[in-house]
């Protein structure tokens, strides 16, 4: 297929998927004529958004978001460094174990910690110092969400380390430790910044966890406008600062990803851990694993009373729907982001500007936008609004993951492809995708997990008669059916894990 045809099709697709619904929706609020109504509109907007209380909540939320992102980055950076630069036993096992906490949706992660530290919890039974631990505070929020999000940072930084291996080999030899870090961090910059943006976006998508911990955040303010006042206009007003911030992220990510990355050097053999490193790395890993995995899983095991199979069988239809739906979304979103990055590279800044519009947009607002639009074109009640919603929601994430990877597709490589290949699409599949395949799989897995645990968009866009496992788990949580919730949580952790193990086994046998 001709490159020009693909580009045109992509632009039409983006317009249909994203630009049209958002424009249609926001045009409803903006005055149609330029007269005094514009002034009234602006006055209303400024008066509502820029009041002291809302600004205070916004500042607090922003501070919490930045803290969560920074802590996730730090916790993720340390294992990523050792996993890529040192040799030790059970490396892949440790890597996989450190990723598992991300398979637990954040609200279930907090639920498990409440089960551990709360009055009915294990900790209250075993501690003998009569310590009173109050977890209903902002510090707890930072702690829980950092532990929940760090695996994304870890794997993404790992990916970054792989792509700079070749470049830093010589500086390691030439410079001292200080010089090594200076060069490494510089080359790793796109991955670090994008990891920061992704966790910040994940934080802004979360409104259930802060309300569990009794913390009023900006997301809750928007939610209340929809749930209490049913005022979509005011919810949209409040969304505007987040949209502006998303656009800033779009520009920044474009700038940082201009840095070229390298095709991984497979010949690099990392040295073994020295004693000092061994003590530090293993202690760190054990602490992180206990906090982010062992405690939640133990609580789930205890709550489930080891009956995992029955709740899973009872919800097998819902589970199957969720798996299929998440697979569809993760494949289509990742594929679309790759095609966009390859074919619309020349106008990437503009494309990012369009697609990042929804990065921090709260899901209930996005849900209302899409229901209104699809209702106007009489397509609500089908699966299309939900597919569109998830693609819009997760496409910026996939783009963020893939952007540094496309640093490997240099201009000279592109020229060679153009000269020698038979067709544009074939060269994309045969040459480009193999180069960025690690980022591709990372995006695939992460989007699958995010989609699997998502509930609020599904609530607004799912066709009647269908249900997802995340919605079912939230419902069960409400009934206080902790046994079923814990069993299903274990299933959501172990089923992808079993699939991954099978894949690893297959890969190992092949090798």
């Amino acid at each position: 297929m001709e490159s020009r045809t693909i580009k045109a099709s992509l632009i039409i697709l983006i317009a249909l998927l994203l630009v049209l619904p958002l424009t249609y929706f926001f045009l409803q609020f903006i005055p149609q004529r330029i007269d005094y109504q514009v002034l009234i509109f602006l006055y209303e907007f400024v008066k509502f958004v820029y009041n002291k209380r809302i600004l205070k909540v916004f500042a607090k939320t922003f501070f919490l978001g930045v803290s969560v992102s920074l802590f996730s980055l730090i916790v993720g950076f340390i294992p990523a460094y050792f996993l890529e630069f040192r040799s030790f036993r059970l490396k892949n096992f440790i890597r996989a174990s450190l990723f598992i906490p991300f398979l637990i949706p954040p609200y279930l992660f907090v639920f498990s910690w409440l089960g551990f530290l709360g009055k009915r919890g294990l900790f209250s039974q075993i501690h003998f110092l009569n310590l009173s631990i109050d977890i209903y505070n902002p510090l707890a929020l930072i702690f829980f969400l950092s532990l929940s999000f760090f695996p994304v940072s870890m794997l993404f930084i790992s990916l970054g380390f792989r792509n700079i291996t070749k470049k830093i080999l010589n500086p390691i030899k030439i410079f001292n430790e200080k010089g090594f870090w200076k060069i490494t961090l510089l080359l790793l910059k796109p991955y670090l910044l994008i990891s920061f943006f992704v966790t910040l976006s994940l934080f802004f998508s979360e409104y259930i966890v802060p309300s569990y911990l009794r913390i009023n955040t900006y997301q809750s303010e928007i939610f209340v406008q929809l749930a209490t006042f049913y005022d979509v206009r005011k919810a949209s007003f409040l969304t505007l600062p987040l949209v502006i911030f998303s656009l800033i992220v779009a520009i920044l990510s474009f700038k940082v990803c201009k840095i070229k990355t390298e095709i991984p050097d497979k010949k690099f053999v990392p040295p073994h851990l020295i004693r000092r490193e061994k003590v530090f790395f293993y202690s760190f890993t054990v602490i992180v694993l206990v906090l982010s995995l062992i405690i939640p899983l133990s609580v789930f095991l205890a709550e489930s009373k080891l009956d995992v199979l029955n709740p899973l069988l009872e919800t097998k239809g819902i589970f199957f729907t969720s798996v299929l739906f998440s697979t569809l979304i993760s494949f289509s979103t990742t594929f679309l982001s790759n095609v966009i990055l390859f074919y619309l590279r020349s106008s990437q800044k503009f494309v990012n500007f369009l697609l990042f519009f929804t990065l921090l947009m709260p899901t209930p607002v996005l849900g209302v936008v899409l229901t209104t639009f699809f209702s106007a074109i009489k397509l609500n009640g089908t699966v299309l609004p939900l597919i569109d919603g998830y693609v819009i929601k997760f496409l910026p994430f996939s783009l963020l993951f893939m952007m540094p990877e496309y640093g490997k597709v240099t201009k000279s490589l592109e020229s060679s492809i153009r000269i020698f290949s038979r067709g544009s699409l074939i060269s994309f599949f045969k040459i480009v995708l193999p180069i960025v395949k690690e980022g591709f799989f990372f995006s695939l897995i992460t989007i699958f997990i995010l989609c699997f645990g998502e509930a609020s968009l599904a609530q607004l866009l799912l066709p009647p008669g269908l249900q997802t496992i995340s919605l079912r788990m939230e419902t069960l949580l409400h009934y206080g059916n902790y046994q079923a919730v814990a069993s299903l949580s274990l299933s959501t952790v172990f089923i992808p894990l079993a699939l991954y193990s099978l894949y690893a086994l297959f890969k190992g046998v092949k090798r």
Partner: protein
């Protein structure tokens, strides 16, 4: 990437798409949006399917999204409604939908013996099987003289011991609007300020209030009968009282389920059949047994442990009076109580 990989990926995508694009276009269906708890409503809808042969396509709300999902969806779908019937678990959002022109009046023949207080005079919505607000308390923490009034939440002897659900959401928001209607704005505001001074904890939902009381993190709290009953059925150390039942006190808030027909719905005749079914004494009886929902019809026979609505002293304000106070109450709560 090899050709077979591309083919494999295309195959997976194809299977997923084919599965998900299968939308049932059966003629004999009814689409119902259900705000009532799924575990209680699903068996009733299954029974309707069995009796009538009409396929029910239900969409349930979750506790986390409250009625934000369904009500916003009904509002956004105004131009092309998908739902035929909305089974709401309270009244305020039903009145809101009526005011915004989402509903179609339907006077069900089965609603005749439901007291006028619990239905819309123009048949836009009809109430059935009610819950009530209750004070749930931990029997291990409070062995005698449990709190019996909403004003006990301001008593210094209970400082830091009580909890309520987020008063901006769900039935707690209705309860506070009702207090504004029953006490007058100034007294209600004073009550809220005093509750805040008395360190009343605000938790996420009514079910969370129940859980906090069960484990003793809160000694008592404000929740709904069905949530309290869930804990009692599981033999947790809790009990409950209907608040403000003495002569000089303001009484309790009764919250019926409400059912309504959606304007321009795709299957209105089937929608009416479902409404008629939900308003039968058998449904009230079932809801009474499984969720301690109190029947509004005198003809409904219920077990002894289920109280009759008539035995509870209710607040002397109509649902429309409460609805008028929703905005002022929510505004005050947002700016003064939760800030």
């Amino acid at each position: 990437m090899k050709k077979r990989h591309v083919l494999f990926l295309s195959f997976i995508l194809g299977v997923c798409l084919a599965f998900l694009l299968v939308t049932y276009h059966k003629e004999n269906v009814v689409v119902v949006y259900v705000a009532h708890d799924q575990d209680y409503s699903e068996p009733i809808l299954k029974e309707f399917e069995k009796q009538t042969g009409i396929k029910v396509k239900a969409l349930y709300d979750t506790e986390a999204t409250k009625t934000v999902g369904l009500v916003n969806r009904l509002l956004a779908e105004k131009n092309n409604p998908q739902a035929d019937v909305f089974w709401n678990n309270e009244v305020m959002r039903s009145i809101l939908l009526k005011e915004l022109g989402i509903l179609q009046p339907y006077c069900s023949p089965n609603a005749k013996d439901i007291p006028e207080f619990y239905k819309d005079p123009e048949c836009y919505w009809t109430g059935f099987a009610a819950r009530a607000r209750v004070i749930i308390y931990n029997t291990e923490k409070i062995k005698e003289n449990p709190p019996t009034s909403i004003f006990d939440f301001t008593d210094p002897k209970w400082k830091g011991k009580a909890c309520i659900a987020n008063p901006l959401l769900g039935t707690t928001s209705t309860h506070f609007a009702a207090l504004f209607a029953a006490l007058g704005d100034e007294k209600a505001k004073e009550l809220l300020v005093k509750m805040k001074e008395n360190d009343v904890k605000v938790v996420e939902s009514n079910s969370m209030v129940r859980d906090q009381v069960v484990v003793g993190e809160c000694w008592f709290g404000l929740t709904d009968t069905d949530d309290a009953y869930d804990a009692i059925r599981e033999e947790k150390p809790v009990s409950f009282v209907f608040p403000d039942q003495k002569n000089e006190q303001i009484g309790d808030l009764i919250i019926p389920n409400t059912v309504m027909l959606i304007k321009n719905s795709p299957h209105p005749e089937n929608g009416k059949k479902l409404i008629d079914f939900l308003l039968t004494p058998e449904v009230e009886e079932k809801l009474a047994k499984i969720a301690l929902q109190m029947p509004l019809k005198n003809s409904t026979s219920v077990p002894q442990y289920v109280p009759r609505v008539s035995s509870i002293k209710r607040m002397n304000v109509s649902y429309y009076q409460i609805f008028e106070k929703m905005n002022v109450s929510n505004q005050f709560i947002q700016e003064n109580f939760l800030s």
